[in-house]
Subunit: 430 residues, 4 copies
């Protein structure tokens, strides 16, 4: 069995449909963004195209769920794509045609699932792949998601439970899925006072992926995943959410600094604590409220760079959330800074050296052995941030955004930063 860490040796980079299309994405939108990635981003390392939640729900059309809608399902109680939204799935082909097209672009394909077995399968008492075992027999009636009505959790103790998960991932493997984002699993509290209630289902899914003979990145949502379970997460998943859904709000960005401070020691090849998607560019095209619908990210330009700097020096997975075909030049520039992406993909010893409510300083060592520093002004006013890097001799600093090299006099560095501004730079020794 292959080590699960080998399928994600560097932080996964890609696109996910949630921030732009909610539960209502369709085939054209998915493939259109894949083509955009192929043409504009692939050269920088972006590769995953991930279809988020409710692809099995014919009437899904926004970020709200239609409670108890009829879901598309095969004869073994497995959800399959809604053909009205994904026409190529017709004839039982599932996501294979889409995956094939994305693979042909030189990219990889991912899907979102919710842990468990469909409630409709349970109440219809439909078969599973295991002879004599129906969906009803493997479901736990009290194990539900607090925010989505589709599934019951699977009881790991009963016959047919592991086989059901195995059958899911066998199906996904046959489609050509490379990435699975499993939801309602890293923080769900159906057992009292235990936000990690789904621990055994994480293990079943790990085994099912190992058994399916196809490399798949395993991503766990939602957050906050409990830090007490970091070892279990590292043993079973490739990435997991540190927070609840991250949107374009200043306070959410602030708390991501605290979360990165808590989790950075757990960052390792194949094990990526996840800052969540990049809510950049044009968001929520399906949103009903016109105040939010089709908005540009509410982050200021400084905050957008700060976001990229933190996600990269922390080594978070990078999953772009906006409708990429509507990217403006600035947005595109944020995700095509090759030197910054290299920090995300190839640096080591990433860690904070200062971390408080007013400022943060992070450092790492890049692929060439140079020290890299990122300096963040977390205040909503100007601030001078100074510090003395642990460097000997004469050196200059090379800014990863301006691409300018500046000689340094003395040992202390000092930056006059605008509100929410940050800098990331490499130390160059003479």
């Amino acid at each position: 069995m292959k080590d699960k860490n080998l399928v994600a040796l560097t932080p996964p980079m890609g696109f996910n449909t949630w921030d732009c299309y909610g539960a209502g994405v369709n085939e054209e939108q998915l493939l259109g963004n894949a083509e955009y990635m192929r043409d504009n981003l692939k050269q920088y390392g972006w590769e995953y195209v991930v279809c988020d939640i409710e692809w099995f729900e014919p009437t899904a059309d926004s970020s709200s769920y239609h409670y108890f809608a009829d879901l598309c399902m095969d004869g073994y109680s497995r959800l399959i794509p809604a053909e009205n939204r994904f026409p190529s799935a017709k004839g039982g082909k599932g996501f294979k045609p889409i995956a094939d097209k994305i693979h042909a672009m030189g990219l990889k394909f991912g899907i979102h699932i919710l842990r468990g077995v469909p409630r409709q399968a349970v109440h219809r008492n439909t078969p599973t792949v295991t002879p004599g075992v129906t969906a009803r027999m493997i479901a736990q009636g009290y194990s539900i998601c607090p925010w989505n009505p589709d599934m019951y959790g699977v009881d790991y103790r009963v016959k047919g439970a592991q086989e059901y998960y195995d059958s899911l991932f066998e199906l996904y493997a046959s489609w050509g899925v490379d990435f699975v984002k499993v939801d309602d699993i890293a923080n769900t509290e159906f057992l009292p006072n235990n936000p990690y209630s789904a621990e055994k289902e994480i293990e079943m899914i790990r085994r099912a992926i190992d058994a399916c003979k196809r490399d798949m990145v395993l991503s766990l949502s939602p957050g906050p995943a409990p830090i007490e379970k970091a070892f279990h997460l590292s043993q079973n998943a490739n990435m997991w959410r540190m927070s609840g859904d991250f949107w374009d709000r200043s306070e959410a960005l602030d708390s991501m600094f605290s979360l990165c401070e808590k989790w950075y020691t757990h960052v390792a090849p194949g094990c990526w604590p996840d800052c969540d998607m990049l809510p950049l560019g044009v968001l929520q095209l399906n949103e009903k409220d016109p105040v939010y619908r089709a908005r540009r990210s509410r982050f200021t330009p400084n905050e957008q760079k700060t976001l990229m700097n933190l996600w990269c020096i922390f080594r978070s997975p990078l999953m772009f959330g906006g409708e990429m075909r509507l990217n403006d030049e600035f947005t595109l520039s944020l995700i095509t800074n090759r030197e910054l992406i290299e920090i995300n993909q190839f640096s080591c010893a990433n860690r904070p050296i200062v971390s408080n409510a007013e400022k943060a300083i992070w450092t790492c060592v890049d692929n060439d052995g140079n020290a890299v520093y990122a300096v963040f002004n977390l205040k909503h006013e100007n601030q001078t941030v100074s510090f003395t890097p642990d460097e000997d001799g004469v050196f200059s600093i090379y800014d990863l955004w301006t691409k300018k090299e500046t000689p340094v006099t003395g040992r202390e560095l000092s930056f006059e930063l605008e509100p929410r501004e940050s800098r990331i730079f490499r130390i160059l020794h003479k």
Copy 2:
């Protein structure tokens, strides 16, 4: 509209099938106990015969639930009796034939329900009584019972919700139901950190009973009902559980003393904090584990009298739990002490004067204006309990169990009590 308190001016007294038959009672057992009540207990005030949980589930046979079993349901998504268990229900007659027979005995008939709409109705998308409104439209997908898989809670904000509850109680009224024990409602926490999450469903049920034009006692389970909600409970229900399920364990009896101490100020006509069933006589005939199956109550004789004394001087509802046809003489004697039952039904000013881990002393005023005292040894060893009642003049004490009158010398009373023994007596002045 009639005041809801008028239907239960004194604590309801009756029999409930849970302690003896779990979820699996049948028509013969129900009516057999009704006949026993008519012949042996009715003259003492016992009147309700209550069929507990899962009467709509054809395969129910013990105190364990069959998760996701197919339930018997009418065309409006209302559960109806399983005909294999209740043959008289055939032909759509529901519980009416049984209720008629019980009424003919001069007794009253009660049923247990779980709040909400059947999950199977939701997933089958069956109609409700409201044209155009299906079960699916009124259900809340995250509002479930943590221990039973039958129902979803009803969303009080949507069209058809109140009408659904109205249709339930209209049906029950047509059957002739006099008492409804609603479960998963007085303590259920589908809203985070709110054990009274079902507050709005309590109000819907109150309105439905008021609208159905039949007197029905409303009993709420399970406990512990939150004491912060005592006013709401008093406004809407006739009785509500102070504790989780009460069984024949010494510790459970101990904690009932604490609960009575907390709740006694809320005891009032039509508003009865409920100590739960009397687990006396022969219990759990359907239990799978032979250690527990068909056992005699594990309470000692002293504890059984202590139980009766507390339930009566507190004025709890009295619901006998054992299979009454197997009562021995001692058990029957416990529930046919007319003078004690009169304390339960007609006393006032009931209150503790001492209440701690070692002993309790309660008092009240009986229907003739005499002071009554109950003295409890809560220790598992002998104890002398002394106190000075607030009585002037010369008096004697009349023991409600021995029926003996004893003159008192001096002001202080002193009782040498065996382990877990108690005394209840009336003060008689010369």
Copy 3:
């Protein structure tokens, strides 16, 4: 031993120095308010004049405490009045001269104390009344007040502990104290997760009062006292706080309605759940911040009447908090409505019939057997509040503020109320 309930058969009425003078009141101010009470309020039933916290601290001058200030103390580790603030205490006379003067006015005298033994006595290791027992020996080092530095709690298990409390109340009895407000006792959490940690000290104080042979009202602070301990409170104290400090803020008034709903069943002669002081008139004369210093109560006139109506129909103790000598006519009128005060002092069966976030309706029976109702608009906008009182026959309503009688046509009553307005009225039958 006299029943403790007999010393407070009706809710205590009086004046307390905290709201106007904080910790810094002096003899002139105390006696000046006593004279005001004698001249203006005594005829309406007001009688207690209570000197609040820190009378033993020479430098106290505001509502902030001087941490670790040197306290005035006698030879038995008992705190005594600071002579610079209370000159009549000179020569070891304590509060006796002041009490004598107040008694001579036909009024009663009260003091505030903090549970425990002075920390300075503990660290100086001074004697207590018990030979061989020093303050150090009876103190519990971890039992402290979270907001005041004066005392350590007393360990009820050690020799000399009860004697120390006895010696305190013997001293207070010798001074002529009629009312003791004990602080840091009804809600203090020095034992983890137990807000009623001082339970044993409450019992020691009860015994000390019973032993001192002088009637004293026992008032416990701060709140919220835990409702689970209502029986213990009723057994030991005469009044206890339901809330934290109550000040002139709308939100605080709102939550008092919820608290009254929770506690009303515990109101009884000698047992008074306490809504806290009336922050009316001119407040906080010693406050340092000029925004707050010497302000008129921020409650609107409607809110001030609403406050009086609730305190009275709930039967809370009434303790006026403002500097009474600065009362304007309106303020004086609030506390000299004889008919309203009679509701507070002599009504029974006081209870809510409606209680929610938008409105409340309370009722009681007055001393003549008439039904009384109070109707409250809790919204900050106009609201019509209607209800049908449980009255037969033809009746009129008599408003306790306007003193006008209005005939009623039909059964329903309807009131158009201004923001935060309320009405209280008596039902008069023909």
Copy 4:
């Protein structure tokens, strides 16, 4: 300023008086153990001799504290050694004579302190080193230790606070102190719901050590230190407790495995999560209860080796707790296994690969680049533990206790382990 990590590049090793002498150690015992260390342990790397709590309390004689005892203090409100217990301290020499002797043995000297300023200084209002600032002025009256009565916390916001801590460490530096264990600081909850309430005092102490111009290891107690504060701990301290006091109980050993699993990513040079003392050999010579007094460690021999294996492969500080002069041969052998100590001091990449309630497997890389594994049977019965190390080619295993090399056939390793037994071994490639 020197990097604080440089003073503890490897896990500190030493002896601490708490487990054997509680609060009552004296000079002879301290120096006697130092001599034992010099003669028997120094050659293996053991170097710190630490005098634990209450050295300033003349009457301390067991592990119970004498509440409010008079403490020895200098003119600046700083605690100094009790001369009756440490005679060489006479003449104001403090711990300097003892430190000198220990230094002369080639060892290092440590002391225990409690955060804060002595309560007796506060109540006596004695001076601090800052002119015009008394102890009273810098104390926080509500900031106390829940289990020891000596101190008040220092308020970091007031003048003289930092100077007070600076004066403490200046004194300790003048004595020659090399190691300071600060107690009541890594887990203390004087701010509600904040077990890290003393965060600012940790920072004051850090600054004071940096200012004192002497290398001192900073050790923080008690545990559990909150893992959310791992970054702050790493920035300020050299070692910190992961647990409450660790004694010779099986359950405590079990939970240390969970704690090590949680904390291992934070182990780094200068930053040592601390498994607490080694309760081995002869313990609690001063204990009053004869059941516990002068007992041999209750751990089985297997558990004692398991303890050493875990502490070493995790890289915990090693602080021996028993009276070393009473060590038997087995006990001495546990702490003189040079190869095991080298794992503790010089290995890297230390981490669990299996961690559950039944077994644990840890691994690291030793100073020569060899893989090391430790295999633990956590059950109280025999268990075979098997696993396949991530090693290529032909290899043998070298047991660090038996010193035997065993060739391995195949890839899987399998160990038949007795109850609570463990193995630690090096992989040797051909």
